[in-house]
Symmetry: C3
Subunit: 247 residues, 3 copies
C-alpha cells in the first residue's frame, strides 16, 4: 500500500537520480519511506537512493515492492509544473501506480518485480581519500573532459592535498585541479583511479545540483559519490568501477 | 486586387492557424476581408479562417482568389520582427504576392488556384454538447496524452457536467478532467468520441493561444473547435473526424 | 615562444572569425601580436586576421609559427566562462599549446606547420564601390535570402546610392535595399556581383557582431568584408570569389 503526496521538485530529483543509470528499478516502500538500490545493465555502476517519509507532504504506506519503469515517468516530467503537488497512489491490485498532478491523472502499469534483477549488495570498500567538492565543479570538469577523451583519472595527493581530474585524449589533455577552499577533506590520502567518462556524465547531472558531493577514492578502486537532497531528507549514492589500463 | 498592411502578430497567427493542417490553400479576397476553407490531404480534418478587413491597418481589395503556398510563408516568419508592419501586395499579373516587412521585400510566386482542390462544404452536424475551455488547458492535455497513446477520447457527462480527456495507451493512461470554473457550458449533454492525437497536436498549437476555445462534441461524431483572434476580428474553425474503433 | 593572457570574449571572437572558414590555420606570432591568413579548402574564400599585442592583458612572444586545429579549440569554447581570463602558453618543445581558464588547463597538440598549406597572397583588387553598413543588417539579409535561394546578388547603384541585396530563387525572391542612414559610402560607384550564400552565412555570424562592416564591391569581382573587433585592436578581413553565371 502507498498513498503519498510530494512536491514536484523533490519527485523530479528522485526520478532523475535513478534514471541517470537505469531504466527500471525495484522500489522498496515501508512506513519509513522509499528506497532503491540497483546496478546498470553492464554491472559497472550502482545507484542507491533513500527518501524519508518526512520528505513527503503526506505519506501512508505498508511494506511493499514496486517495479518502476523509470524512463516512462521521466518522459512525463515535462508535463509537471514546477510548483505542482504530485500525488502517488498504488491501486488495490498493486499493478498500477496513479500519479496525479495539476488536474492530470497518469496511470502507469507497474513492472513485475520478479522480472527485475535482484538487489545488489553494496560492497564493503576501503577507499582512503574522502573529501567534498561543489557538485557543479565536478560536473563542469566532467563535461570539459568529455571533449578530449572518454576516460578520466581522479587523483588525490596526500602531500599537496590537491584533487586532480585529468583527461588524456589521443592528442589533447584537460586538467582541472581543485585545492584550498574548493575541497574539504575528511581524510586526505594518496589515491588515483581511472574512470569511464560516459558514466560520470550521466551521474554528473544529478551531482551538479548538489551543493556538496562527497567523493571517496582509492587506487585502482571504485569511486563513491554521495550527496543529499530534499533538504537532507533524501540521499543518493553512486558507485563506479574503475577502468584498469595497462600502460 | 489586394493591397493591405497588417501587424506581424496577426499575420503570424493567420498563417499558423492554416499551416497547422495544410501546406497550401485558396484565399478568397474581397472588400470585406479574406477567408479560406480547406481540408487536409487525408480528408480527416478541415480548417476554416476568416479575417475581417478591419483587422488590417490598411486594406484595399477587389474580389479575387489567391493560391498560397502556406508552408513557404511560414518558413519566412522567423525573419519578421514582432513589431513589424507586414505589407501585402498582389502584382498586376496576379501571379505573385509581394510581402514586405522591415526593409525586406519578399516576392512569392502564387499557385494556380485551378490546381488546388475545390473548397469543401462545411457539413451540417448535430453536436449536442457545446462548451468553452481555456485554449492552453486543451493543448497541455493533448501534449501529455501524446506521451502514452496516439488517440484520445473526449467526453462530456450530462450528469456531472465534467469534460474528460482520456488517453489509453498499451500499458499507461493519462486522464484530464475539467469541471467547475474551467469549463463554461452552452449546452451540457452526453457526448463521447475518439480522435487521433496527431491532428489534435497540430491544431492544438493555434488553439493554445486562444483565451477560450469553443468545443462542440457528439457521440462517434466529428468534433468542432472554434476561437477568435485579432481582437475578435478573425475567427478560426477546425473540424476533425472521429476514429471509430471496435472494442 | 608565446606566453599571453586575454579576455575570454576577445579570444572567442578571434577563434570564431577564423573557424567560420577553416578548420586549421597557421598563426604567425611575434612581439607585435598574432596574425593569420588562409583560404578555405575549395579556394573560394579567404580570411585574414590580426590581433595586436595590446589587445592582450599580458603578451610576451618571440617570432614563431603555430599550427592550430581551430575546430578543436572552438568545441572547447562552451567551457570558457564569459568573464574568464584565458592564458596561452607554448610549451618548450613548441609542439603543445596550453590554454588555461577558470581552473582548467587544456593542452592541445599543435599541427606541424609544414602540413598546413602555404599562406595565400592577398590579391590586389580594383573594387570601385566602398561602403559601410551595420553587421547585423548584413547577416539578417543573408539569413532571409538563404530561405529562397543559394546565391545572392550584391549591387550598388551610382545613381541612387542604394545598396541592394537580391536573392532570386526558383519561384520566390527576397530583396533588401539599404540607403540613407543605413549605408555610409566611402566611394559610391556602380557594382554588381553574385555570391554563394553558403559562404556568406558562415562569414555572416562573425560580421553580425561588428557595429560596422566595410564592404568593397566590383562587377563580377570578389567582394571584400573588413571589420575591427577587440576595441579596434583586432581586425578581420574576408574575401569571397564571385559566382559567374550565364544568363
Amino acid at each position: 500500500m502507498l498513498k503519498a503526496t510530494i512536491e514536484a521538485d523533490i519527485f523530479r530529483e528522485t526520478i532523475d537520480a535513478v534514471s541517470a543509470l537505469v531504466n527500471e528499478c525495484r522500489l522498496h516502500v515501508d512506513e519509513k519511506g522509499i528506497r532503491t538500490i540497483t546496478v546498470d545493465t553492464s554491472n559497472v555502476a550502482m545507484v542507491s537512493l533513500e527518501l524519508s517519509a518526512s520528505a513527503f507532504l503526506t505519506f501512508a504506506a505498508e511494506p511493499c515492492e514496486i517495479g518502476l519503469d523509470i524512463e516512462k515517468i521521466r518522459s512525463m516530467m515535462s508535463m509537471i509544473g514546477k510548483t505542482d503537488i504530485v500525488s502517488l497512489e498504488l491501486d488495490d491490485s498493486g499493478k498500477k501506480l496513479k500519479i496525479s498532478f495539476g488536474g492530470y491523472e497518469y496511470s502507469i502499469t507497474l513492472l513485475d518485480t520478479k522480472t527485475i534483477r535482484k538487489d545488489p549488495n553494496a560492497p564493503n570498500l576501503n577507499l582512503p581519500a574522502t573529501f567534498e567538492i561543489p557538485g557543479i565543479m565536478f560536473y563542469d570538469a566532467i563535461k570539459a573532459s568529455a571533449m578530449v577523451s572518454d576516460k578520466i583519472s581522479l587523483a588525490v595527493s596526500a602531500e599537496t592535498c590537491v584533487f586532480t581530474m585529468n583527461a588524456d585524449g589521443d592528442s589533447d589533455r584537460i586538467k582541472r585541479e581543485l585545492a584550498g577552499e574548493d575541497v574539504h577533506y575528511i581524510t586526505c590520502a594518496d589515491a588515483k583511479s581511472l574512470f569511464s567518462l560516459d558514466y560520470l556524465k550521466d551521474m554528473g547531472k544529478s551531482i551538479s545540483r548538489a551543493d556538496k558531493v562527497q567523493i571517496r577514492l582509492g587506487t585502482d578502486h571504485p569511486v563513491q559519490f554521495s550527496f543529499v537532497y530534499a533538504g537532507g531528507k533524501g540521499s543518493v549514492g553512486y558507485l563506479l568501477a574503475p577502468r584498469i589500463e595497462a600502460d
